[in-house]
């Protein structure tokens, strides 16, 4: 504030014509200027974090809690077993029906590693506190805002604290906490802490009470749960909705995704400010040492090259590099050729798991999945995965034609349902439910020419037909358009990868549709003849004055029809042989006769299989030659306990 003294005070030398309004001096202004705490900022800008409306807030809270639970389990190498419970809470009397309730209690319980006692309050009641922000490692959460923001939202709308129960092992006691956030200081306030008896040997349970609205349909909690299950087929999840039946989602893929590794930032991916900060924080004593040790893909040689290009001494103390020198260094980095970042830090879902997820949750005839090789945008490695579920399950298809038995009048056309494809989007295995139009995934789907693959698509719109398009982006840093993590931002590299993945899925779908079409057209051919033969026989009989041996003529014509349309060969085409998934990697085809392809170890129709499979899952053997490389992972390590 003192620096402002050099400016003349508010009254100007010239006599002001209008009488001066109540002016405020710099000193007075200074008295009002003070620090804004992050928590206060977010109180006023809750929409930035996804709490714009009561309905969305409910979803966001569930989502943050589930994301945290899954991240913790996976990092600790535990197959997640999560229970999500949403209850309507009464404001005094008996709880109202879920659709009219305005208060909800959310409880999420996991079987994860648990949290050590000291860390519980800051994790749940301090914004921007966590383990995920300071490292480059693929995880659902990125910033350390989510769960504490959810807790703060609850605190603001209901005044209730967040309740946490956590236990790190069967031998350790379970700790129970009730915490609130001090919104001024961004510090946790502990209202209650005690050791309690808890039935789970290990895990964490979070309970929040918030103001919200429960409504099914698009972007609902139910949809979030369902989509989470599709992309996380290794998760066992129990969902207790505020009304209706409890849903049990069994695990359909008995293998944890390979644990992603942490990497150092790639020099291309950082901005000048970040570089300045790293220069200050480094433990290296020389510039070249700093470059080589704090970044990935920078060897001592490359470091020397960068220093030379920036006209800086390799032995300079990093802390002394600032101002123009730092800027030169930044430019030198951008112009030096550096290897792409390592990609083993990523853990894609994998084709078998995507297939398993789609197959379990979506009824269809054809499923396929593609995992692209890793690529890089702005120094951040990423992997795009796409999947497709197409058509109606045979049992569904069998129901439909019964309704349209009325012959058509002149000018009347067959009604075709204008069903369009549904896109389900994921970033690091988390479903994205809002802002589809702003998302790069949607744009890439729209830009793909689906007509090439036998799917109708009118200009500038989604492909038509009973189809679900699955797209997942896995990256150490997913570029969202906003903090509420709803849409993926535009990058050419990302767009290209999504497009390539979609095209591969499209090609397989096209192959499937063509093959099926061929079989059907043979069938239809024979069908046509059979239909018309009856008409011709009847007409001929009338022409002959009713004295025709109709049965004989019909028989002769039918025999010829069978012969001409290939007879037994057509039957073969129509059967399993013709439409099987051979030649289509990572695909499942469902026909009335049965299911073919890499079917996961679950009974069809999504019915849960045996709870604990005796043998290790068959999926790895069923895999076709892999396209993605560099993911040879050992067994999930156990016992590596880490706090969140």
């Amino acid at each position: 504030m003192e620096g402002m003294k050099s400016h003349p005070p508010a009254p100007t030398p010239k006599p002001a014509v209008p009488p001066p309004r109540a002016t405020v001096s710099a000193v007075e202004m200074g008295a009002r200027q003070r620090e804004i705490s992050v928590s206060e900022f977010f109180t006023k800008n809750r929409h930035l974090l996804g709490f714009d409306s009561p309905r969305k807030a409910l979803l966001t809270c569930v989502k943050e809690a589930v994301d945290n639970a899954l991240d913790a389990c996976e990092e600790a190498g535990i197959l997640p077993d999560v229970v999500v419970k949403v209850e309507a809470v009464a404001n005094g009397e008996a709880p109202p029906p879920a659709s009219q309730a305005s208060r909800f209690r959310i409880t999420v319980t996991d079987n994860g590693p648990g949290i050590v006692r000291q860390q519980i309050p800051p994790i749940f009641a301090k914004l921007l506190y966590g383990s995920k922000f300071h490292r480059l490692r693929m995880s659902r959460g990125q910033q350390g805002i989510g769960i504490s923001a959810a807790g703060m939202y609850g605190q603001l709308t209901t005044g209730k604290p967040v309740q946490i129960t956590s236990r790190t092992s069967a031998r350790a006691p379970a700790h129970y906490f009730e915490v609130q956030i001090d919104t001024k200081k961004n510090e946790p306030r502990i209202l209650e802490k005690k050791q309690i008896a808890w039935e789970s040997p290990r895990g964490t349970q979070v309970t929040m009470e918030i103001e919200g609205r429960y409504q099914k349909g698009r972007a609902s909690v139910d949809e979030y749960i369902e989509q989470t299950i599709i992309a996380n087929s290794h998760v066992k999840l129990t969902y207790v909705p505020p009304e209706g039946e409890t849903k049990e989602y069994a695990r359909s893929y008995e293998q944890l995704p390979p644990a992603p590794r942490e990497i150092k930032p790639h020099p291309y991916g950082i901005e000048l400010g970040m570089l300045l900060k790293m220069l200050q924080d480094t433990r290296s004593h020389s510039l070249s040492g700093f470059l080589a040790s704090d970044f990935s893909r920078v060897s001592p040689n490359v470091a020397a090259e960068i220093c030379k290009a920036a006209r800086l001494s390799p032995n300079a103390r990093p802390r002394d590099v600032h101002g123009q020198a730092a800027e030169n260094l930044y430019k030198a980095i951008q112009s030096t050729k550096i290897m792409a970042p390592p990609t083993n830090c990523l853990s894609p879902i994998g084709e078998p798991a995507i297939l398993a997820g789609l197959y379990r949750q979506i009824k269809g005839e054809f499923y396929t999945a593609v995992t692209r090789p890793p690529a890089v945008y702005r120094g951040n490695p990423f992997v795009i995965e796409a999947g497709l579920a197409f058509g109606r399950a045979p049992e569904q298809a069998a129901q439909t034609p019964a309704t349209k038995a009325i012959p058509l009048a002149e000018g009347e056309a067959e009604k075709d349902d204008h069903e369009v494809a549904r896109i389900i989007r994921y970033a690091n295995r988390v479903p994205l439910l809002y802002q589809p139009a702003a998302c790069e995934i949607t744009k890439a789907v729209l830009d793909t020419t689906w007509r090439n693959y036998g799917v109708a698509q009118s200009r500038g719109s989604l492909p038509a037909g009973p189809m679900v398009i699955f797209v997942h982006m896995a990256s150490v840093w997913v570029p969202f358009t906003s903090e509420s993590k709803e849409a993926i931002a535009e990058y050419d590299e990302i767009h290209k990868e999504i497009t390539l993945a979609l095209r591969e899925c499209g090609r397989r779908l096209g192959a499937f549709l063509r093959r099926r079409e061929r079989a059907h057209s043979e069938f239809r051919r024979r069908n046509i003849f059979e239909l018309y033969i009856e008409e011709i026989v009847q007409s001929c009989n009338r022409l002959k004055g009713g004295r025709l041996a109709t049965a004989k003529l019909r028989d002769q014509l039918l025999k010829m029809a069978t012969k001409i349309t290939g007879g037994g060969k057509t039957d073969e085409l129509l059967g399993k042989n013709g439409s099987g998934p051979e030649g289509l990697p990572h695909s499942i085809i469902v026909t009335p006769e049965g299911v073919e392809g890499e079917v996961p170890v679950v009974a069809p129709n999504g019915a849960p299989a045996a709870e604990e499979p005796v043998a290790p899952p068959a999926a790895p053997e069923a895999r076709a030659p892999r396209k993605t490389k560099g993911k040879a992972t050992p067994k999930p390590r156990a016992g590596r306990k880490k706090k969140r």
């Binding site: 349209k404 038995a405 009325i406 012959p407 058509l408 002149e410 000018g411 051919r525 046509i528 003849f529 239909l531 018309y532 009856e534 008409e535 011709i536 007409s539 001929c540 009338r542 022409l543 002959k544 025709l548 003529l553 002769q556 014509l557 025999k559 010829m560 029809a561 001409i564």
Partner: protein
């Protein structure tokens, strides 16, 4: 007609032949196939000696065991069935009724035998040419779309129709005018004037042009239907009356004239009974606007379709006479077409009182 135990007519036998063809093919394990003469410009010849368009020998096969043709084949048999039903009952009917009679849902499906009349109409023409039976013989009639007035007496279903006593409206020409349905009892006229447009026919009828010039006035309201063409042909043939044609001066008018004179491409096989090779083109000629002092501003600019059609006409073998090439080229170079109605620009009765008398006097017509 027939009241005694009915003998199948010749046409009926031909229709039953379609069924026989299917049965015989099935017996031999052969694909049932109907050979249908091709009805297009590529399969007609202009017989210069007779002055007629004749159908060529090319035929297309319509087979049942061919996915693209199966439905059409089935429909053809269906239509043949309906036509034979007409024969047995001795009824006449319209194209539209044939369509409704043959339309039903195919057993065990949601498919209709026919969806629109556009599907059944060509099938009837197919059967006409295949069985060489005229539409009248098949008992299919069109609407009465023509009128006649003048010194002629018909006998229609036993009623005497004197066309001099029918006022301005005249006698509505039936669709079927074969001698067994319509007889010409008496005719004292000197010639037949066939007018394209009903409006101009009305003008002439109102002005009693036929009385003054002792002629029969005929109109078909546009492209004359078969009844009108056949009646003109009968008057020409039986009563030796010359036939003059009065049409608009545009490519469509020229074509109407040529259909009356040489027959149409589509139904070339009927030229034998329909065409009047000696018919004359009275007007409107592209030379008339100048000769009769019609101002340029009553013309209409030729549009792209007109020009394209005129070029097609120039290429037809039956328009190769020098006079006709000149006539059409003159229209193209002027870039204008004229309606008969445009004569009213000079006088309401100009057609009756000036134009036609002068044409007849000067014998100013094209052949």
């Amino acid at each position: 007609m027939a009241k005694k135990p009915r003998k199948p007519t010749a046409v009926e036998k031909k229709l039953v032949g379609v069924a026989d063809l299917v049965i015989a093919a099935a017996e031999k394990r052969k694909d049932p196939t109907i050979a249908i003469p091709v009805r297009s410009l590529s399969n007609v010849n202009f017989n210069e000696r007779k002055g007629l368009i004749e159908m060529g020998k090319r035929k297309q096969a319509r087979s049942f065991f061919n996915v693209a043709m199966a439905k059409k084949f089935m429909q053809t048999v269906l239509v043949a069935d309906a036509l034979s039903e007409l024969q047995r009952a001795n009824l006449t009917t319209s194209l539209r009724e044939i369509y409704y009679r043959t339309k039903h849902t195919i057993k065990d499906s949601h498919e209709n035998t026919l969806d629109t009349q556009d599907e059944s109409d060509p099938l009837i023409e197919d059967l006409e040419v295949t069985l060489t039976a005229l539409r009248e013989e098949l008992h299919v009639r069109a609407e009465n779309a023509g009128s006649i007035v003048g010194p002629v007496v018909f006998v229609d279903d036993g009623d005497r129709v004197d066309c001099t006593r029918l006022g301005k409206g005249g006698y509505s020409v039936p669709s079927i005018v074969e001698p067994e349905y319509l007889q010409i009892a008496r005719c004292t006229a000197d010639f037949v004037l066939l007018v394209e447009k009903g409006t101009q026919w009305n003008r002439l009828s109102e002005d009693k042009f036929w009385r003054r010039y002792n002629c029969v006035l005929l109109t078909g309201n546009g492209q004359p239907p078969r009844g009108v063409r056949r009646l003109a042909r009968r008057l020409h043939e039986e009563k030796q009356l010359p036939v003059y044609v009065l049409v608009d001066n545009d490519p469509w008018g020229y074509y109407i004239y040529s259909v009356i004179k040489q027959g149409s491409i589509n139904l070339a096989f009927e030229s034998q009974r329909m065409a009047i090779p000696k018919a004359k083109f009275m007007g409107l000629s592209s030379a008339d606007p100048e000769a009769y002092g019609l101002p340029r501003n009553v013309g209409i600019k030729l549009n792209d379709k007109d020009v394209a059609r005129a070029r097609e006409l120039l290429a037809y073998t039956w328009f190769q006479k020098k006079s006709w090439q000149e006539e059409i080229k003159r229209m193209l170079s002027s870039g204008l077409k004229y309606e008969l109605d445009a004569l009213a620009n000079k006088d309401f009765q100009y057609l009756t009182k000036k134009y036609l008398p002068r044409k007849l006097k000067e014998k100013d017509w094209l052949d």
